[in-house]
Amino acid sequence: MEHAAQDRRRRRRISKRDSLALLLLAAPGIVWFTVFAYGPMVGLVVAFKDFNIRQGIFGSPWNGFANFRYFLSSGDAWTIVTNTLVLNALFLTASLLAGLVLALMLNEIRGQFYRRFMQSSIFFPYFVSPIVISLMLQAILSGVGGRGGIVNDMLNVFDLPQLAWYTTPGAWPWILTLVKVWQLGGYTSVIFLAAITSISEEVYEAAAIDGASRARMALSITTPLLLPTMGILVVLGVGRIFFGDFATIYAIVQDNGILFPTTDVIDTYVFRSLRTIGNFGTTAAIGLFQSVVGFVFVTAAVLVQRRFQKESAIL
């Protein structure tokens, strides 16, 4: 009711001068979106061209699907596509679960000072840049001068064999997942905590009267009520599942080819080929492939969510 009245008032006719002023206000944003968000979409024609810099984006000759064929037959396609999917699925699951568990546990902490201190501590990694993360990881895994490192020292204490981490590709999906949990666990928990505060206290009081323990409440009340939030985060995550976390992965792996079998994702592959081979057409084709498949994933995720959680659907 109120909204309708508000809408009507807002829809009042506006004068020419007013619309000019509004256009002026919106202009920088519109220009930015046109150039930097839509411009590159137009630039994707490069994917269908035999691009060379002299003739430019529109002057270069067309070559149909040759770029796509080249990529798909190169043998790397399968590896980087599966890596992208596997790594992102691991990142998403692990950081959501960690966030959920942390939120449930933080919710139990009563001392205000301790609670706030802990919340700040676990949120902190969100502010740390990928480069710094990569350096911390090197310090922990390979130590100084490539020997030692805290993890290996600990393995030593338990009489386990030490590992040269930076030459062991099999370990990296897990290491990267752990990094993601470190980076986003606290951040995700804040999102869940925000949702927890909107759960009515009466539910808990009723449960307490029925003799429910705190653990039971967390499991049977809080967790189910957090499902809509979880759903949205999953949808957003699935929407990005094709855009491997480039900044973090590349900062950590750099050009260490030994680790590529398990860590090379579409974005790092594109960047490397762009820099070393300089083949714009093929790399643009991979980018287009990535965008289209990514778009399909987003749409599917949104549709599935609409089906099961109508009230909190994103679109």
């Binding site: 506006i14 206000l25 568990v101 740390v128 925000a194 909107s198």
Partner: protein, 319 residues
């Protein structure tokens, strides 16, 4: 790429959100009584995760203050011994550190100001619910969240079309607006009291006057949130500089640090290959550089963290 990492859009599962004061009072009431196992588990779990988050940071700080010879001989310890400030002396006596700070500051300050201005003004126009304008504009700024051109066209755009190579604007412009934050700002603006704005209109204020003198002053919370999200993105950005800056004297801090790492990374991965490098305080230098890169964040943190929580919560309740 990093802007898409920003806070996800959320809707809250139920109704309005209780104020923090109210919340704690309620919690205290309902939590009187005996200590339950889950509570104990929670304290231990959260404390351990807290340590897990902070120890790497402490290692870096301690490492930056430990003499390189000790770093090489005994590895890391949690307490710097023997204590040494040599890396910091070296860094502060060189030019690149100050150049790095200048670049990072320029990118962060100018970028954040531009970002806030463009995001807020576009969001305001969308929030006005103008017929024929607002809805198309919403879709216009939503589509880039779902579909984008990718790296190659962006690279060509910045280097070939706009010729921004080696300009700090090549770092700022590509990540200047985050569609998600536009939508968060829209929902904030829509919740502003309509009466105040109507009153200004009746008094004859034009659209620009209303935006700058009434809307913006009322919107300090959302401006702070936008500013923080954007500032962190700019400060931590290293990929755009890597792509578009080739002149080392224009490198921001993250890229200087990245170079410091990359130059010995592969050597460091192989055991025994680094005897020669151990003589220069390579590791201590890297740690010191890292500390200097995150120092501004550490100083701003107590202030910023509050706003960040607010920003995420805002996204969570307004969605």
């Amino acid at each position: 790429m990093s802007t898409s990492e920003l806070a996800p859009e959320l809707t809250s599962p139920a109704g309005s959100i209780a104020g923090p004061g109210q919340r704690t009072a309620r919690r205290r009431r309902s939590l009187r009584g005996r200590l339950e196992p889950f509570t104990v588990v929670s304290y231990v779990g959260v404390s351990l995760f807290g340590l897990f988050c902070l120890i790497p940071l402490w290692m870096i700080i301690a490492g930056s203050l430990t003499d390189e010879s000790a770093l090489a001989r005994t590895g890391y310890s949690l307490f710097p011994h023997p204590f040494s400030l040599r890396a910091y002396e070296l860094l502060f006596s060189g030019q690149s550190l100050f150049g790095g700070y200048a670049a990072s500051l320029f990118i962060t300050v100018v970028g954040t100001a531009l970002s806030i201005y463009c995001t807020a003004s576009l969001a305001w126009v969308i929030a006005r619910r103008l017929p024929l304008v607002s809805r198309p504009l919403t879709i216009f700024s939503y589509i880039p969240m779902l579909f984008h051109g990718g790296l190659v066209p962006l690279y060509l755009l910045v280097t070939q079309v706009l010729s921004l190579t080696n300009s700090w604007f090549a770092v700022i412009l590509p990540i200047m607006m985050a569609p998600f934050l536009v939508l968060v700002a829209v929902s904030f603006f829509r919740a502003l009291p309509e009466e105040v704005i109507d009153a200004a209109r009746i008094d004859g204020a034009g659209e620009l006057r209303i935006f700058f003198q009434i809307v913006l002053p009322l919107s300090k919370p959302i401006l702070a949130v936008l500013g923080l999200f954007y500032a962190v993105t700019y400060w931590n950005e290293w990929f755009m500089p890597l792509l578009f800056l080739s002149d080392p004297s224009r490198y921001p801090l993250q890229l200087i640090l990245q170079n410091l790492i990359a130059n010995v990374t592969n050597a460091a991965a192989l055991p025994g290959a680094t005897a020669a490098q151990a003589s220069a305080p390579v590791y201590q230098l890297r740690f010191a550089m890292t500390v200097l890169t995150i120092a501004p964040i550490l100083f701003a943190y107590p202030f910023a963290q509050r706003f960040f929580v607010k920003g995420i919560t805002l996204g969570a309740t307004k969605g």
